[in-house]
Structure formats: structure tokens, C-alpha cells
């Protein structure tokens, strides 16, 4: 029954694919019309499933399921519309980057809200008994629910297609996704349609959440697990293309399911050689995505020209400001001195846990700094920067396990390998720009994330463990774990030694980056950020400069990853701890939060982010909700990050002083400083 089996898998694939279609349709149209990369789409999807749990409970599965599938999407749609009105709307016209920060904040808020209301336990979504029966048609046995999902989602897709293609509203929305400016120019207020699009997109996501919830189960991680495949679908099909979302969704669903079902199975045998399906589950879709992006960046069905309109303004925190350069340098010096004596205070308090936190902050400060080199200076936004952090960590662990335990060799290895990786990824991806660059780097990162699960030498899903760092070179020195000595009656251990090592490397990295930005190379990067076209036409090979910046950035992120492996608090290097896409999001958020384009801003951002996380999580379980809210408030009111607060305050004071007299309207521009 090979054929029946195959058809069964195909049906399973189509079922999953239809879920992706519903998710991607909203995601794609939202991006196409508003340029919003909506990371919170996955959480709206989960919210739909959770809401329906509560709706089904009083009615019972028989009626409740049908009530839920109508009511929950409407509620989520209204929530989506409210989100658009209150948070997304003020950001139109800004670079899509700010939507990443905003929707990332929304992810934290919605996800934590779900945990708060429904708890963290996995739940079953009750479906009517007649839907969950198995049914056999022509020898193919699947649940009625599969057919229901396919039919129901197909119906919704057809309705959506009809609305988009046969109604006036739909026509305006489609026109908007082709060329928003033109739609405005013919006298249509396209902004009015954004709320509608966002709400309908959210409602479709909620439907997807309910049908998948009934098929599998409902859990707090379900949003996170579908968002990246949904992005793959959108990119494959073409940003803003509904047809693309349908085709891409089915393709990804089927490919994923078939690769899972048949990986390792033998296709044919020729004498001694057997030809079998390679074990590429998880990798295939990303390989597909990279291939499509390289050959046809606008996706299979995309019609949107690359960079069809000028991108919004990138608000770097780097210039103007009220503090003089010398003041800033002095403040930096004070900060370093304070960090250098901090362990003494920690010794006196006797709680070494704070050192663990500080070590994490330093590692992420270097990671965020590395991102700032490409994002804040060369204007490149990689959504997969954690690939270098992760590969750096894995390289370091592998070097320690198999080659040398010397910290210096280990870190050098991490830097070199990541620089090479960055050169390869950069060479392939820098030719596409803007959001396509973001997506292709995301695909590479996900490819590596999936790959480490496959190989024995990376330890699969368990990760690597049992490595140890040696502070020294060629046998001269001491193992980090053996370092322990008494000082004035206090016990000084490996955490202290590592702290100073990390602090030294962080300071050196900052000085290196500062130096570079004041040298010819860095000055060209800044000109590229200001105007790529102009830089090209005063004679700079823009792509080459970008690629080099990417290599330097990748090497530095690898250094941060290497430090993570060397850190005495790190016992295991696992895929989720290092290569999960969430870290790529986090590092962008931290850099923006601190103030990008300043070098020190992202480092401060790391300190505040992890400091706030530690502080809040010791008081409340809902710390993600608070941090998420903080991100949303920041992106709305302090877009240039923490480093811009002094000048914002100064500006407020000035406005308050001028309140009686004429207010200088030119002063509304936000300037930044630390």
C-alpha cells in the first residue's frame, strides 16, 4: 500500500499546508500593504486557539466548536484592529525595523497574557465527535478532521480571494500592496484600510490557530513554532502576494510532512548502492527559501519591485545630542571603572549570582555591538545574526572538546570560523537588500539551527557538554574551573576571573569598533547608511564594503558566542540556547532599545535588558509582559533608544520653559546622546 500511504502523507501535508495558507495570507498582505513585519502574528494565532478553549468549555464540544470558530476569530480580529490603531499606526513611514521591535514586544505581551490567563499547561481543544472519526476513502485512512480542515481553510481562502479580487476594498488593498504612494496620489486614504487589513489578518490567524489546535493540541509555544515557517511561506510566495501565500503554504506544508515521513527511506537499490531520501527534514524549506531568494528575490509570485519606494528613516542615536564628546568619553571611563570594581561589592555581599548576570550582560553587550556595526552603520538588518553567536559557541565548545582548551585558541577559532561563515553568507545575501536581506539571513540561521540537530558531532538536540576552558596557552596557565584562591578572607573563584576576561574583551571590542568607525573604512560604512547610491557614485564598491562589515560583525558575534562557551556558568551548548531565531530578534531589540549607531548604546541596552529581566523576574512571573510593554512604549516614545533620554529630557525642559513664549517648532526633532 505504498500509494495509499503516500496519499495519506500528502493529505497530512495539505492539512498542515492549509494552516500555513491561513497564517501567511494575513502576514503577507499586512506586509505588502503596510510594510509591517509582524512577529506577533504567531501569538494572535495562539490567542485564537486559547480563546476558543474558553468558548467551547460552557457549550461542550458539539456546539461550542462551531461557536468558537466564529466568535474567537472575530474577537482576535478586533484585538488586531485595536493593536493596529494604538501601536502600529504611529510607526508608519519609519523603517520596518521598528515594527520588529514593536511586534517583538507584542509577542512577549500576548504570550505572557496567555500564560497568565490560561496557564502553561498543554490543553486539548475539544472537537465534535463526528469530526474526529477516522474515515477510509479508497484505502486512504485519515481523520474526518483532515478533510474538514482542508475544506474549511480552502473555503476561507476562496472567500479572501474573492474579497481581494472582486470588491472595491480588495482592489484598493491590492493596489496598495503594489504601490502605496500611487494609491495616495489618486486620492484614496489608504491608511483607513490598514486597520481592516490588520484585523482580518489577525482573524485568519485565529482561525488557523483553532483548526490546528483541534488537530494537535494547544500550548504556549504554538505561536513561536509556526511563525518562522509562516515567514518562509510568505517569502517563497512573494511578499504581499495572496496567490503566493496559498502556493507557498501548501508547498511548505507538503514538503515538511513528506520529508518527515520519508526521511531515510530507501528509494532504490543498485547493487551495493542504495539511494535513500536524505535526512533533511527541517532543512529543505530553508534551502528552498534561500534558493528562491537568490534567483528571484521577489518570490515566486511577487510582483513588487525591490525597494519600490524609499525606506523609512532609520533613527540612529548617533549624532547631535546635548553631551559633549569629552563628557561622553569620561562617562564611558567611569562606567568601565565602576564595572571593574563591581566584583568587590559582590564579594562583600557574598552573592556570586550577580556575577553570573554581569557575565551574561557582557557577552550580550559584545553580541549587540557586533550587530550595531552592520545595522547601525552599514544599514543592513540581519534577522539571523544569532547564527554567528551560535556557531561561535559551537566552534568554541568543539575546539575545547577535540583540539585545545586554551581560551585564546578557542576564541580565535570561533572568530575565524564565524568570519568565514559571514563571508559566505554575506557574498550570497548582500546582493539583495532591505527586507530580503533580513529574510535570507534568517533562512541561513534557521538552516544552521536545523542542521545542528542532525549531526552527531554537534550533539543533536542535547547539545554539547563536558568541555572545559584553560586560561593560558601551551600548558602555561590554569584550568578556569581550578582557579580559586582566597583574598583577604574572601573566596575568589572562576566567575571572577571570567568576568574580568569578558570585561577586557568587551572594552577592547568597543575600542576596536570605535577606532574602525573613525577610520576610512568605517567612514564609508556611514556614508552607505546615509545614501547607498551616492556612495556608489563617489566611487565606492558598496557591496564590497558591506560584505567586509558583515565579516567583521560576524567575527565579533562569534567571539561573543565563544565567550558563552568559555563562561563557567555554561555547562551545555544547545541549539535553542544559541541558534534559536528568538535570539536574533532579541539582539536587534537590545540594540534598538539601547540606541543603535552609537556602538555603546547597544551595550548599554544589553545591561538594561538583562538587568531588568533579572530584577523583574525576582518579583513577578509576568516579567515578559512588563518588558514587552516597555519595548512598545520605547519604540513609540523613545525611538532612538536609551542613549537619547538625556536630550529628550533636555528638550522637554526647554519646551516647558518656552511654554509661555513661542515654541521653536524646529526643535521637535529628537536628538540623542548618552
Amino acid at each position: 500500500m505504498v500509494a495509499a500511504d503516500f496519499i495519506e502523507q500528502l493529505l497530512n501535508g495539505l492539512t498542515l499546508g492549509m494552516v500555513y495558507v491561513l497564517l501567511a495570507a494575513g502576514l503577507s498582505v499586512i506586509f505588502g500593504v503596510m510594510d509591517v513585519i509582524n512577529f506577533s502574528h504567531g501569538e494572535l494565532f495562539a490567542l485564537g486557539a486559547y480563546l476558543s478553549l474558553s468558548i467551547i468549555a460552557p457549550f461542550g464540544a458539539g456546539i461550542g466548536f462551531w461557536v468558537a470558530i466564529v466568535v474567537a476569530p472575530v474577537v482576535v480580529g478586533l484585538i488586531g484592529a485595536a493593536i493596529e490603531r494604538t501601536t502600529v499606526r504611529p510607526l508608519y513611514g519609519r523603517d520596518p525595523l521598528y515594527h520588529i521591535l514593536l511586534t517583538f514586544g507584542l509577542v512577549l505581551v500576548i504570550n505572557d497574557g496567555i500564560r497568565l490567563i490560561w496557564g502553561t499547561q498543554q490543553r486539548q481543544l475539544a472537537v465534535p465527535a463526528y469530526l474526529s472519526q477516522p474515515v477510509s476513502i479508497l484505502g486512504v485512512q485519515v481523520s474526518v478532521y483532515n478533510y474538514f480542515m482542508i475544506a474549511f481553510a480552502a473555503l476561507l481562502a476562496v472567500v479572501t480571494w474573492y474579497l481581494l479580487n472582486r470588491t472595491k476594498y480588495g482592489m484598493i488593498i491590492r493596489a496598495g500592496s503594489q504601490d502605496r504612494e500611487m494609491v495616495r496620489n489618486v486620492g484614496i486614504d489608504i491608511d483607513q484600510y490598514y486597520t481592516l487589513v490588520f484585523g482580518v489578518g489577525a482573524a485568519l490567524a485565529a482561525v488557523a490557530g483553532i483548526v490546528l489546535g483541534g488537530y494537535q493540541n494547544v500550548n504556549t509555544g504554538m505561536g513561536n513554532s509556526v511563525i518562522i515557517p509562516a515567514f518562509v511561506v510568505v517569502v517563497l510566495g512573494g511578499l504581499g502576494s495572496f496567490r503566493g501565500a496559498v502556493f507557498g503554504g501548501l508547498l511548505v506544508g507538503v514538503v515538511q510532512t513528506l520529508m518527515r515521513a520519508y526521511s531515510g527511506s530507501v528509494l532504490a537499490t543498485f547493487g551495493d548502492t542504495t539511494l535513500s531520501v536524505p535526512n533533511l527534514e527541517g532543512l529543505t524549506v530553508y534551502l528552498l527559501m534561500i534558493a528562491v531568494l537568490l534567483v528571484k528575490p521577489q518570490g515566486l509570485f511577487g510582483t513588487r519591485g525591490e525597494e519600490s519606494e524609499g525606506e523609512g528613516e532609520l533613527l540612529v542615536g548617533g549624532y547631535g545630542g546635548i553631551l559633549a564628546d569629552s563628557t561622553r568619553v569620561r562617562l564611558g571611563g567611569i562606567a568601565v571603572v565602576a564595572l571593574a570594581v563591581a566584583p568587590v561589592a559582590i564579594l562583600l555581599m557574598g552573592d556570586q549570582y550577580y556575577l553570573v548576570v554581569l557575565n551574561e550582560i557582557l557577552i550580550w553587550a559584545i553580541f549587540a555591538l557586533s550587530l550595531d556595526i552592520v545595522m547601525g552603520y552599514a544599514g543592513l538588518v540581519p534577522l539571523g545574526h544569532t547564527m554567528f553567536y551560535g556557531v561561535g559557541a559551537y566552534t568554541a565548545a568543539l575546539v575545547m572538546l577535540h583540539y585545545s582548551q586554551s581560551v585564546f585558541v578557542v576564541l580565535l577559532g570561533a572568530i575565524l570560523l564565524c568570519a568565514i561563515l559571514a563571508w559566505i553568507v554575506g557574498s550570497l545575501s548582500i546582493r539583495v537588500s532591505g527586507v530580503y536581506f533580513a529574510m535570507i539571513t534568517l533562512a541561513f540561521a534557521e538552516l544552521l539551527y536545523s542542521a545542528v540537530f542532525k549531526f552527531d558531532f554537534t550533539g543533536g538536540s542535547d547539545g554539547l557538554l563536558g568541555f572545559e576552558a584553560f586560561l593560558g596557552l601551551g600548558g602555561v596557565g590554569a584550568a578556569l574551573s581550578n582557579i580559586e584562591f582566597g583574598l583577604l578572607g574572601y573566596e575568589v573563584g572562576q566567575q571572577f576571573v571570567f568576568y574580568y576576561l569578558a570585561l577586557l574583551i568587551a572594552v577592547l571590542s568597543l575600542l576596536f569598533a570605535r577606532r574602525m568607525m573613525n577610520a576610512p573604512f568605517g567612514s564609508v560604512l556611514q556614508s552607505i547608511r546615509e545614501s547607498e547610491e551616492r556612495a556608489e557614485f563617489i566611487g565606492y564598491d558598496v557591496n564590497r564594503y558591506k560584505r567586509r562589515a558583515f565579516v567583521i560583525s560576524g567575527g565579533m558575534a562569534g567571539l561573543a558566542g565563544g565567550l558563552l562557551a568559555v563562561s563557567p556558568s555554561t555547562v551545555i551548548i544547545s541549539p535553542d540556547q544559541t541558534l534559536n531565531w528568538i535570539h536574533s530578534g532579541e539582539v536587534i531589540v537590545i540594540a534598538l532599545f539601547g540606541g543603535m549607531g552609537t556602538l555603546y548604546g547597544p551595550m548599554i541596552g544589553s545591561g538594561v535588558f538583562f538587568g531588568a529581566e533579572e530584577f523583574l523576574s525576582s518579583y513577578t512571573d509576568q516579567w515578559r509582559l512588563i518588558i514587552g510593554t516597555l519595548f512598545i512604549l520605547f519604540v513609540l516614545f523613545v525611538p532612538r533608544g536609551i542613549v537619547s533620554i538625556p536630550s529628550l529630557v533636555a528638550q522637554r525642559l526647554e519646551t516647558a520653559n518656552n511654554a509661555d513664549g513661542a515654541v521653536d517648532m524646529d526643535e521637535t526633532e529628537v536628538r540623542s546622546d548618552d
Partner: protein
């Protein structure tokens, strides 16, 4: 006979079914001030983009100083001495005026900078680059505003800076895309004077709408209509050309 600095041979650009530039063969002599005029959609800007490398031609050849540069990347054309200005002011707004000019000057000196210096040596410590920067700032008259952000300059001053960026790359031929677009008549006059003084040693190729202006300043004029070259000649020849009058001037202007 004067040497030819720029030559196009059968230059053609098609966008789908539309032929924007159709078999244009131009020849600009060394030291010449050439203007290209034509009604909207005549293919002026496309021709310009083909010569500077922003677009690649469907057919034909571009030769600069005797070398075929048809497949040479835009930035490399700049390195060989082909400068351009932009129709919409395109300067590095967030950087200081001095840094704008310095970046352009650095570009032509970048071969003398080794990788170590490029990464670590202070950008302001290169004497040749700094000297050239100050010279250009003097020439464009922005010396006393050199520390301001470029975006803080008035429109006319930004246009000056735009020219300064071109000048600092030390070009042999400068391509000017409507350098006086959106200017008042005084500003236009001032800018043309500036071009006259600052770019006196360079060959110039000007794309322009303002016919009176073109008649006054050009050595030779090329008229394009519907992507084709209608006529080339001295301002007098063009003014007296029947075809040009019919097709472009409409016989009204004198």
C-alpha cells in the same frame, strides 16, 4: 583635432516593449560643454544612466577616454574619472559638510591606503585627502559651514555641496543631471557661475530642461526626442535647425 573623452556607439535601452533610448551615438570632445535637451520622455535621463552605469544598455557601447566601459561597474567608472551629480539632491545628510567632501576625496585616494590604515588610522590624518577636502570646500564656498550637518543646509547650498562631492572625486568628465532643478533664477545663475568657475577644467555633459540656459552655456547641444538623436550642433545650429524647431521648440521660441 581634439581628443574624444566620451563616445557612445549605437546605445540602446529597451524596457519591455518600450525603447527608451534608441541607437544613440554621441561623441564629446575633451574640454567640451555638451548639453542634452529634449522634451519629457525623450530618454535624457536614461541616456545619462547608461553612461554612468546606473543602467546597463540593451545594445551599444560606451567608451570613456578610449576604453570600453560598457560593462564596468558604476563605482569603477567614477574611479576612472567619470563623475556625476544627481537630479534630486543626494548628499550624506546626517554627516557634516566636511565629511561629505572628505569621503569623496578619500574615494580617489583609497588605493594609497593599506588595509590596516583603512581599519585603524584616523580618517582625518591623511594629509592629501584633507588638503583636497579643504580646497574643494573653498571652491564651493562652504568653508564656514563645513561643520554643520549637510541636511541643515539650505537647498541652494546643498546643490553646491552636491557639486563639491563630484569635484572632490577629481573627474575628467562630469555628468550633470539638471543641477538647477527647482532653483530660483538668481540661484540658477549662481549655480551656473559656480559650474563655470569650479568645473572649468572638466568636460561637462549637462541634462537640462531650461533651453535658454542651455543656449547660453553650451559648446554643443544634442537634442533627443522619443529616445532618438534628432540633431547635434552648436547652439546657433540647433536654434536654426528646422527639425528641432518643429519637434521640440514648436517654432514658438526665439
Amino acid at each position: 583635432m581634439t581628443e574624444t573623452v566620451l563616445e557612445t556607439d549605437g546605445l540602446t535601452k529597451r524596457f519591455g516593449k518600450l525603447t527608451a533610448v534608441d541607437d544613440v551615438s554621441l561623441s564629446v570632445a575633451d574640454g567640451e560643454f555638451r548639453s542634452v535637451i529634449g522634451p519629457n520622455g525623450a530618454g535624457k535621463t536614461t541616456t545619462f544612466n547608461l553612461i554612468t552605469g546606473a543602467l546597463s544598455p540593451s545594445a551599444g557601447v560606451v567608451r570613456f577616454k578610449g576604453e570600453d566601459i560598457t560593462d564596468v561597474a558604476p563605482h569603477e567608472r567614477v574611479g576612472r574619472g567619470l563623475g556625476r551629480s544627481f537630479q534630486i539632491t543626494n548628499v550624506f545628510g546626517g554627516l557634516s559638510v566636511r565629511e561629505n567632501v572628505r569621503l569623496a576625496a578619500q574615494s580617489v585616494h583609497s588605493e594609497g591606503i593599506n588595509p590596516g590604515e583603512a581599519l585603524f588610522r584616523n580618517k582625518n590624518s591623511f594629509e592629501e585627502i584633507s588638503e583636497q577636502t579643504e580646497t574643494v570646500l573653498d571652491q564651493i564656498g562652504l568653508q564656514d559651514r563645513a561643520d554643520e550637518h549637510a541636511e541643515a543646509l539650505a537647498y541652494g547650498d546643498q546643490r553646491r555641496l552636491e557639486l563639491g562631492l563630484v569635484l572632490a572625486t577629481d573627474p575628467d568628465l562630469v555628468m550633470l543631471d539638471e543641477p538647477t532643478a527647482g532653483m530660483s533664477s538668481e540661484e540658477t545663475q549662481a549655480t551656473m557661475n559656480l559650474i563655470d568657475t569650479v568645473l572649468a577644467d572638466q568636460s561637462l555633459m549637462l541634462i537640462e530642461h531650461d533651453i535658454d540656459l542651455v543656449m547660453r552655456v553650451s559648446d554643443r547641444i544634442t537634442v533627443l526626442t522619443r529616445g532618438e538623436e534628432l540633431a547635434s550642433g552648436t547652439p546657433e545650429e540647433i536654434a536654426n535647425n528646422e527639425d528641432v524647431r518643429d519637434a521640440y521648440l514648436g517654432g514658438v521660441r526665439e
